[in-house]
């Protein structure tokens, strides 16, 4: 459709930049072009330090004040054989002078450290993209290994791109001649050489990287110096040679005032758990078994013992959640973190938590499934597992963060629901936002919501003949929340026994009574259904949209970017994003009913769409993709366009 094409054209023009001016330097004149946004991808062998290089460039970019979004992409194998396509690791960064929502569809710049990195990423590049490639390994053998019979640099394969073919390895070695380092050690600094060059190209501040290198290699000053030398040499190469006639500038983005840092989703989630536990006044206990892409939560929390955080690396996922539940029984904030396969193992214990009605936070950082699936790739396919993956009627609240920084808020919300309603809560993150990062406005700890919890300390039963209350009813519910009291061991007079056998209302004794079971099943359901969650907010800029795009979790960015494209192309389209998947916001039915069409993009085969159709009898249109990668905004915009223009 023409209008949409136009929108994309506009994007491309903005991206190429129009505002060109010249900067005088001591040695030569360099053209500085203004860009409004750039997508850069750095790719190499898994051992080449690509993630570190990407992280540093991101940090420089954050310090400069651009809005940004990142996407690391690495193989499941720790070090696949060098030079192979399977071993390619990459890091993508999108930065801009305005607010952006995704790490970008197609890189404008690719830095490829070897032939495999070039081949693996070539298909993703934007038309006319710039390629900086290290020619060192472009030997016949290395090329043949990845199925290239001739050299792509010279055979015309790259003719539609601006190519800077440099022997980065040799340039690095030259810069370190006389450093006393072996060739092998010196060659390791080539990622810093590349970073220096990129930093020059995009006028990034460098002090942060220099300080970082000094600190990281504090114990090996010669390595620190080598990296710094290589970094500077890379910068100077850009500045002094004619090879790069142009450098670029992307102005800071006008973010709301405040203090910012760059943060990845798993880190934000770990911080949210620590902050939430502190606001709740509870010690945090994490029981977990290592699994990609959730392990970083375990790693991070294990560093923060001074905040009273206990981490328990269990023998398996069952023990991880079991220990968290045991800690919750003792009055801690019990948390377990895992990914799909581990969540499957935890199911029975989560059912026990439903029956015990104790607070518990279950973090599922989703990855591609089924089975081992795609450990390092993203997917949203555990929604139904979280909703229904247990025996019996075992309702569990489910929430999802929508971006890396939002993982912090989602953790607080999970803690709120768990503690107020005395229930296990699922928090569904995924590999994309867990590893991706964005600028995050640092919250004031003191102004975070008060999550304080009170334990029951006195018996709560009916007064005896003498007026004193001695009876404790562990399943006597709060009339508003239907939550039962949290009475922890160590409290005299409240000794009680919990268990997974059906319990009698109020007393909590074992009960096989049919009426009681009916009552308890319905009451547990009513408790979850009655959880108070904020109404869904709809973004309907024009106010006359007939089509609503509804999403959940990490698709927020791509959906938002696609919606912007559609709007730029002249369409009216409304967008809403669900934080709460169980229970749904109270106004959701009404929102859905206000639109002719409801479109639900998901990285699964339509799990939210299934829930929405079942619950609201809405003929939702499910747009799905399971490629282990987030939607590309352009692809999603095309799909939305299809819906917007079809008559049925």
């Amino acid at each position: 459709m023409a209008a949409l094409e136009f929108g994309r054209e506009l994007d491309a023009q903005l991206q190429l930049g129009t505002n060109v001016f010249r900067r005088r330097t001591a040695r030569m004149s360099t053209e500085v072009q203004q860009l409004d946004r750039v997508v850069i991808r750095i790719a190499g062998d898994s051992g080449d330090g690509m993630q570190l290089t990407g992280d540093r460039f991101t940090q420089e970019t954050a310090n400069f004040g651009n809005d940004l979004s990142t996407q690391p992409n690495f193989p499941a194998e720790i070090r696949a054989p060098a030079g192979t396509l399977a071993g390619v690791s990459s890091f993508q960064l999108h930065f801009a002078d305005h607010d952006i929502l995704t790490p970008g569809d197609r890189p404008d710049v690719l830095v490829a450290m070897n032939p495999a990195a070039l081949k693996a990423n070539l298909g993703d590049l934007a038309k006319g993209a710039t390629i900086i490639v290290d020619t060192r390994d472009f030997t016949e053998r290395a090329l043949a290994r990845i199925g290239w019979t001739s050299d792509p640099i010279t055979d015309g394969t790259l003719e539609n791109f601006t190519v800077h073919a440099l022997d980065l390895t040799q340039l690095t070695l030259d810069s370190l001649a006389g450093s006393g380092l072996s060739r092998k050690d010196a060659g390791r600094s080539k990622n810093m050489y590349a970073l220096g060059l990129l930093s020059w190209m995009y006028s990034r501040p460098t002090e942060g990287t220099l300080a970082f290198l000094r600190e990281k290699f504090a114990k090996k000053p010669e390595i620190a110096e080598a990296n710094i030398t290589a970094f500077r040499a890379g910068w100077n190469y850009g500045e002094t040679t004619e090879a790069f006639g142009v450098s670029y500038e992307v102005k800071p983005a006008p973010l709301p005032a405040g203090e910012y840092r760059n943060i990845a989703g798993n880190l934000a989630l770990a911080y949210g758990l620590i902050a939430g536990a502190q606001r709740a006044g509870l010690p945090l206990f994490l029981g977990a078994y290592p699994i990609t892409p959730a392990s970083d939560i375990l790693h991070e929390l294990s560093k923060h013992k001074r905040f009273g955080v206990r981490t328990f690396q269990a023998e398996d996922e069952i023990a991880g959640v079991g220990a968290a539940l045991g800690a919750a029984f003792g009055g801690a904030l019990g948390v377990t973190s895992s990914s799909g396969p581990g969540i499957a193992l935890k199911a029975e214990t989560i059912g026990l938590a439903v029956s015990l009605e104790l607070p518990l936070v279950i973090v599922d950082v989703q990855r591609g499934g089924p089975s081992t699936g795609l450990p390092t790739k993203t997917e949203q396919s555990d929604l139904l597992q979280a909703m229904y993956g247990r025996n019996g009627e075992a309702p569990v609240p489910v929430i999802a963060p929508q971006s890396p920084g939002d993982c912090f808020d989602a953790a607080l919300e999970a803690i709120r629901i768990a503690t107020v309603y005395r229930t296990p809560v699922f928090l569904l993150s995924d590999g994309y936002i867990a590893n991706g990062s964005e600028p995050w406005k640092i919250p004031e700890v003191g102004s975070l919501q008060d999550l304080s919890v009170s334990f029951l300390t006195e018996p709560n039963g009916e007064p005896g003949p003498d007026g004193t209350v001695t009876e404790f009813l562990p399943y006597l519910r709060d009339p508003d929340t239907l939550a039962r009291p949290w009475a922890v061991p160590g409290t005299p007079g409240l000794e009680h026994r919990l268990g997974g056998i059906e319990k009698a209302d109020k007393t909590g004794h074992i009960s096989y009574d049919p009426d009681n079971h009916e009552f308890m099943v319905r009451t547990r359901q009513a408790k979850v259904d009655g959880i108070i969650v904020p109404d869904l907010v709809v973004d309907d800029a024009s106010g006359d949209a007939k089509v609503l795009v509804l999403g959940w979790g990490s698709t927020y960015g791509p959906i938002g970017a696609a919606v912007r494209r559609a709007r730029r192309a002249g369409y009216s389209i409304a967008q809403a994003h669900l934080r709460h998947l169980n229970p749904f916001p109270k106004n959701l039915g009404q929102v859905l009913a206000s639109y002719d069409k409801v479109v639900i993009p998901e990285m699964n085969l339509g799990q939210l769409a299934l829930l929405i159709r079942a619950r609201y009898l809405v003929d939702a249109i499910s747009l799905t993709q399971v490629r282990g990668m987030p939607f590309r905004a352009a692809d999603l915009a095309d799909m939305l366009q299809g819906v917007l223009t079809s008559d049925d």
């Binding site: 954050a62 310090n63 004040g65 800071p252 709301p256 005032a257 203090e259 910012y260 840092r261 760059n262 943060i263 911080y271 620590i274 902050a275 502190q278 010690p283 206990f285 029981g287 013992k305 001074r306 905040f307 009273g308 206990r310 328990f312 269990a314 023998e315 069952i318 023990a319 991880g320 079991g322 220990a323 968290a324 539940l325 045991g326 800690a327 029984f329 003792g330 009055g331 801690a332 019990g334 029975e348 214990t349 026990l352 015990l356 640092i442 919250p443 700890v445 061991p489 160590g490 409290t491 005299p492 007079g493 000794e495 009680h496 026994r497 919990l498 268990g499 997974g500 056998i501 074992i510």
Partner: protein, 353 residues
Amino acid sequence: MTDTVHGSPNGSGSASLGLKAKDFKTDQEVRWCPGCGDYAILAAVQGFMPELNIARENVVFLSGIGCSSRFPYYMNTYGMHSIHGRAPAIATGLSTSRPDLKVFVVTGDGDALSIGGNHLIHALRRNVNLTILLFNNRIYGLTKGQYSPTSEQGKITKSTPMGSVDNPFNPVSLALGAEATFVARTLDSDRKHLTSVLRAATAHQGTSLVEIYQNCNIFNDGAFDLLKDADTRGDWIIGLNHGAEIRFGNDNSKAVIRDPATGALSVAEGVAEGDPRVVTHDAHTEDPSYAFALSRLSQPDTRLSPMGVFRDVTRPSYDQLLNNQLDKAKAQAPGDEDALQALLRGKDAWSVH
């Protein structure tokens, strides 16, 4: 049997709380089959609890699933009847985050050694502060009589009409293989011995595993009769008493002897007094192979069952080590609101005006 264990009497050492056995009974009707060995164990535990001198609110009984795992409902303390096999894991979370509590785990041979085998060995290797009471009736009671991982080979049950073919576990050997710091065995019907083992087990820091031979009179009746019958028990029970020679038999003429050449342990008959080969039991032996060798003397049909404390050695508990790390971290830098704010801010924050 004589009093077999040593060790200091338990309790805080402070003034007696004046608790009685009945204080530990609940108002719940006990629902085991009449004649089940679980009754005797319950009575022995309730009878022992006052001696422990710990307030009821500071005691927790956690269990898995099985007849034996109903135990917490009958103890007027805090308690949890959890899911099959997982009690050691749940107890680990509770014990490490609440070092002030006395945590017991009650489990069966199926619960602990089949579905929960993984959690059991890991609790033992970590040495979590738990007293684990393993009720071994060598059968699945609650599911009505299938063979269990401790049933002798050839056991005919509902699921093994031609006899089971798999080799059983010896729970004491298994625990020692996991380097448990305290392992003991006792018998449901010998209240005095059971109580003395409980005394030693609860005095232990770290995990204490007590295997209790328990009669299931419905599905595996008489499994331990050789050890109960006055005519046979003297021949088959090898009483373990720390610091004493390991002699048994009606006239004390049988003994556990050590081969001076190989160090291997065996049972000999007609051993004269003063025979230097006779082993003097030392439950504090660091090397678990000694206790393991003792555990290997028993036969699958319960003949030659060493009873008492096999091993009781000192090693810091997991709880203690973990909590020490927390204390150390807190001593190095506070974990207050300012510290949290600084953590959130990180090293690379920037301001937008």
